[in-house]
Symmetry: C2
Subunit: 112 residues, 2 copies
DNA sequence: TGCTTATACCTAACAAAATTAGGTATAAAA
DNA sequence: TTTTATACCTAATTTTGTTAGGTATAAGCA
């Protein structure tokens, strides 16, 4: 059973949501957290994740601090003030979009 | 209140779902149907829709019949046998992906 | 009559975002 | 010592949607 890819366009919002919940996380940790909470059904790939993280930093949504832990580098990301505001909007927009999509996927035109 | 864009990657599945429900529809009708069932919250643009329809025809998922109704051309689309099978898979995959996304958006790591 | 709105199809150029397919490096386990 | 896990990353390509149009008919309004 292969995992679903991330629904396109939702990756940025997923990142923001994870950071809103956790305070700070590093990239690799995000990939594991998503696998875990979705029981391996969703997999965010590192090749999509890292560029998305860098873009959010460029946009002023995230800030980073780097640490070396057990001989390996970790780059922690956290929300900036601007990022916190944006997170609220993005999550609401995505939730609304998901509701619309659910209406279509669950509609039964012949009965409704 | 501007409508949400379609969640990227879901347009194909939306088309298949509409045709599974309705049997046959034409492009313009699909844009109206989506607006109506979602109460104007989702808007599928014709510039995204028509290329997506053509691609599905190329892939053998849809077949078309053209008619002139009230002086205007209508191109009706319906699912092929292959398209019907594919529709089941695509809808299930998208529903699973939405469930995973909902888990993340509704997760409260501090309480869970 | 002329203008606008609704219906109905479409494409080209561009941008955004993810995929494919790698690469580097350390630590731990087999 | 080879593999697995951790941890970062990029380049080229593909997929998909957006922006910004175009064509044409019919109906409604001024």
């Amino acid at each position: 059973m292969e995992p679903n890819p991330v629904i396109k366009g939702s990756l940025t919002t997923i990142i923001l949501k994870l950071l809103e919940e956790s305070g700070r996380m590093y990239g690799y940790e995000m990939t594991r957290a998503v696998r875990e909470v979705t029981k391996n059904k969703m997999d965010i790939t590192e090749a999509a994740l890292y560029p998305a993280l860098h873009k959010l930093v460029d946009e002023g949504m995230l800030e980073t601090t780097s640490e070396v832990v057990e001989g390996r580098m970790r780059k922690y990301y956290s929300l900036t003030k601007k990022g916190k505001k944006e997170t609220v909007f993005k999550i609401n927009a995505l939730k609304e979009a998901l509701e619309s999509l659910n209406i279509i996927l669950n509609s039964n035109l012949s009965n409704g």
